[in-house]
Symmetry: D3
């Protein structure tokens, strides 16, 4: 442990950005909680904007209204 699950909307996040999220989140857990990187798992799950709701509306609709 730890296990970190990062859920974000499917917005074409690049492999480099994902790698940086994983690197920096692991580093953060080492710095703050002194965790062992070797047993630190980070999982990024990407979600369609039709499948994510905030304030009762889909992110698709919220973005269209901007």
């Amino acid at each position: 442990m730890p296990y970190v699950n990062i859920q974000i909307t499917r917005d074409g996040v690049s492999a480099e950005q994902k790698a940086e999220l994983i690197r920096a989140t692991t580093e953060l857990l080492v710095r703050v909680l002194n965790k062992d990187p070797a047993t630190t798992h980070i999982v990024i799950q990407e979600v369609d904007t039709d499948n994510w709701g905030i304030a009762g509306q889909t992110v698709t609709a919220l973005r269209a209204a901007k």
Copy 2:
């Protein structure tokens, strides 16, 4: 908060149905728990029927046996 994760099988649920799930779930959390819609997140994750098991069998197999 709150955060609600709805996992369903990948059955071609329409954008309209997803929007209604998000609208109605948010409304429910406002009605029952007086939550702020602006900080209420709903995430729908769709799962292949090969990847969902009930009673020890995949949903694909259960449906084929019907």
Copy 3:
């Protein structure tokens, strides 16, 4: 299926409110997606306000600042 995970802050939500969340969420999934109540699972997880962050602060801190 479906499986619904509802995460809320630990604010003394009553057994009656939880029962209503479960009843109404199940009813919603029947109405919108025609799901079978018998295989519809709802899980409510309560989270301490020190353990929930919005806008970079804990809910404990956000509430104290109000």
Copy 4:
């Protein structure tokens, strides 16, 4: 990886039963998917019976009706 999350009702499951769930689930992932035990994480989360709903009712109510 993998990461396995096992959610069960809070029914006084013993430390021995938890250890057996963890041992056997890991063994299963090695056997079926040839996974490395050293990077296989199993997390058991226990949920109050008021907080788990099936068929629109809490497990507390379902058990009381038996």
Copy 5:
């Protein structure tokens, strides 16, 4: 209940392997915790190797370095 979520990397796991994971995990929960298979849900979520990090690196990078 129970509900089991199995997260694995997207490595072309076959339908047969998924069915065996579901069968054996359900059997395990019956054996160790005497659970009812009919209300035992198993969900397998597959994650791209760019989206899974261990020891601060993506599985894609870790595998490339082998």
Copy 6:
């Protein structure tokens, strides 16, 4: 969005450490993905060491063997 779930063993992590995890994770998501802090939710779930398994053993057992 995003929503981040951080699962760690129940090791007496202080309120200050939790606040720093939340602050730094939010900052990271702003820096790497340009996310809006106001809609960024971080949830920390603490798990008993009997309930977390690595390499087929509970963390309780692994620590006792050190």
